[in-house]
């Protein structure tokens, strides 16, 4: 056919992982285990749906952000070649520069025009430690980019104290902050988040209703709901302006 080849639409999924000094030890171990546990769910989802090619990137952040997986990678490839993240000794929890780096990755110049609404998952155990105004300016830069603004933005707080007002400002309005009370809950929360990312990125779904079903506080504890695909999941979410 004229015009060259065809391909599924890319769905970019960016994980922002807190690798600050406070993540040392059991938390870092739990985070790596959780990320590894999340990937097979995403692989399964990608195989079972029709509309998207899921491409994942991981940004490790502490005092400064650093792309751990810099280029969009098929999720099955990352799952097959996983290497553990490491914490940064004495590293702070500076989120502003990390938001800026994600904003650059999602800029119109770098994002395919046909890309689906991206998803961003922020995982942290603490409050932002940016210099005054740093968090706000970084978040503003992310929300200034159309794809950053429209992205599904999820946050997982490790510990109640991490579920803070800054995370509320980061997250999408229709999703709550997921809280892992202990390291043993991080994997559950990330799997729940991955299901939310995949299901809520499907087009034609009622995102608000789905968020309520998947992410309401009662659903955050214990077994995560694995919902069957809904009719019409292959439709584009061509919401009107």
């Amino acid at each position: 056919m004229p015009g060259g080849g065809v391909a599924r639409r890319p769905l970019h999924f960016i994980v922002m992982a807190d690798c600050s000094g406070s993540m040392k030890g059991e938390k870092m171990q739990a985070l790596n285990y959780a990320l590894r546990s999340m990937l097979p769910h995403l692989v399964d989802w990608e195989r079972d749906q029709l509309q998207a090619q899921l491409l994942i990137r991981i940004l490790a952040f502490a005092s400064a952000p650093n792309w751990y997986v810099p280029d969009p990678l098929p999720v099955s490839e990352l799952s097959a070649h996983w290497r553990n993240l490491e914490y940064v000794p004495m590293g702070r929890t500076n989120m502003g520069p990390a938001f800026r780096m994600v904003a650059e990755a999602l800029s119109p110049e770098r994002l395919e025009r046909r890309a689906l609404r991206p998803a961003i998952l922020l995982i942290t155990d603490g409050l932002p430690t940016d210099p005054p105004g740093g968090f706000e300016q970084g978040l503003a830069a992310l929300l200034d980019v159309p794809a950053g603004r429209s992205a599904l933005r999820l946050a997982v707080a490790i510990g109640r104290d991490a579920s803070s007002e800054p995370l509320d400002r980061f997250r999408s309005q229709d999703v709550p902050v997921l809280v892992a009370d202990g390291t043993d809950e991080i994997a559950d929360r990330l799997v729940t988040a991955s299901i939310a990312v995949s299901r809520m990125s499907e087009v034609g779904v009622n995102r608000e209703a789905l968020a309520e079903r998947l992410l309401q506080p009662g659903q955050q504890r214990g077994a995560h709901p694995v919902l069957p695909p809904e009719p019409g999941q292959v439709r584009l979410d061509d919401s009107i302006l």
Partner: protein
């Protein structure tokens, strides 16, 4: 479970020897639960509005552009293109928006929302939201190419040198996530139009495509490669062959290898485009899918997402 194809396509004669083709993409979101009806109404009313515009233009003194006139002078109100653009803006667009809304209200009055449908609607939704659709309209009248578009989708004009011309202005509101719509708050304001004098900008073909086509294309600048390839094909094959292939192109875009979205296209081939092949050229014309394609030139095709093959109504 597969939803029905919510796109629609149609074409009609317009004026003394013109043709209009319209494609419309009914929104897939559950909130737009009657969008297949909305796109069907958009196509039929779009064809009718274009026919009325064609009559209006032919009855006026602006039907024939001055020889050597620039093709993209619709911004100059005194120019023929500017006067046609003004007619589109002041007549076709508002009439179309009004008649589509009235037709939707008539439809919903005759067939009120069922209980199941009411559950999908959001509280306070205007009934027209359930019928939401985009629309791409192309009227070929003499040497004029008149385009009107609301919402996403692509209009690709193939120039005589094989390059692509995208005359409809881009809408910064369309970020790939949301679309303007006939059911939006200001549909008349969201229409984008273009008027081309094809004597100044000779064209071989025009492609109207719902966004399922462009969203399936791997190349960012797919209109350029599409135009080059189609120009080459026009020299190699006749339009009957193209007519036989177009449904498979739409189906490939709509498949799981592509956008997995409903895909509907209409391809208009000009006399110059026809002359490149093995057949004698005739006027640019358009047919409905049910029509016998043997003596016709322009080809609409559509495919529902997840179809094993092309879907033709």
């Amino acid at each position: 479970m597969q939803l029905p194809n919510q796109d629609f396509v149609g074409s009609e004669r317009a004026g003394s020897a013109g043709v209009v083709a319209v494609v419309a993409d009914g929104h897939g979101h559950s909130r737009h639960l009657r969008s297949a009806r909305g796109s069907r109404l958009a196509v039929s009313l779009g064809c009718r509005a274009a026919q009325e515009l064609a009559d209006l233009i032919e009855a006026s003194e602006i039907a024939e552009p001055a020889a050597g006139a620039e093709g993209e002078d619709a911004d100059t109100l005194d120019s023929p293109a500017g006067r046609i653009a003004e007619l589109v803006n002041l007549s076709l667009v508002p009439e179309l928006v009004k008649s589509w809304r009235e037709a939707v209200i008539t439809d919903v009055t005759a067939d009120p929302f069922t209980e199941a449908e009411e559950e999908k609607r959001r509280p306070g939704d205007d009934p027209v939201i359930a019928y939401g659709s985009t629309m791409l309209l192309c009227l070929v009248l003499g040497n004029w190419l008149i385009l009107a578009q609301i919402g996403d989708g692509d209009v690709v004009c193939v120039r005589a040198d094989g390059s692509a011309e995208l005359p409809v202005p881009r809408d910064p509101q369309l970020d790939g996530q949301v679309t303007t719509s006939l059911c939006g708050p200001d549909p008349a304001g969201d229409f984008r139009i273009a008027v081309l004098d094809t004597r100044a900008i000779p064209l071989l073909a025009v492609l109207l495509a719902t966004d399922g086509y462009g969203n399936a294309q791997l190349a960012e600048d797919w209109p350029s490669s599409f135009s080059k390839d189609l120009t080459w094909l026009l020299g190699q094959r006749d339009t009957r062959w193209l007519a036989s292939q177009l449904p498979s192109w739409a189906a490939r875009c709509a498949s799981a290898d592509g956008s997995a979205d409903d895909t509907t296209v209409a391809l208009l081939i000009s006399p110059a485009g026809q002359a490149m092949g093995t057949q004698a050229p005739s006027d640019t014309t358009a047919v409905s899918p049910e029509a016998d394609a043997e003596d016709e030139i322009t080809i609409p095709a559509d495919a529902a997402a997840d179809d094993a093959g092309p879907g033709v109504r």
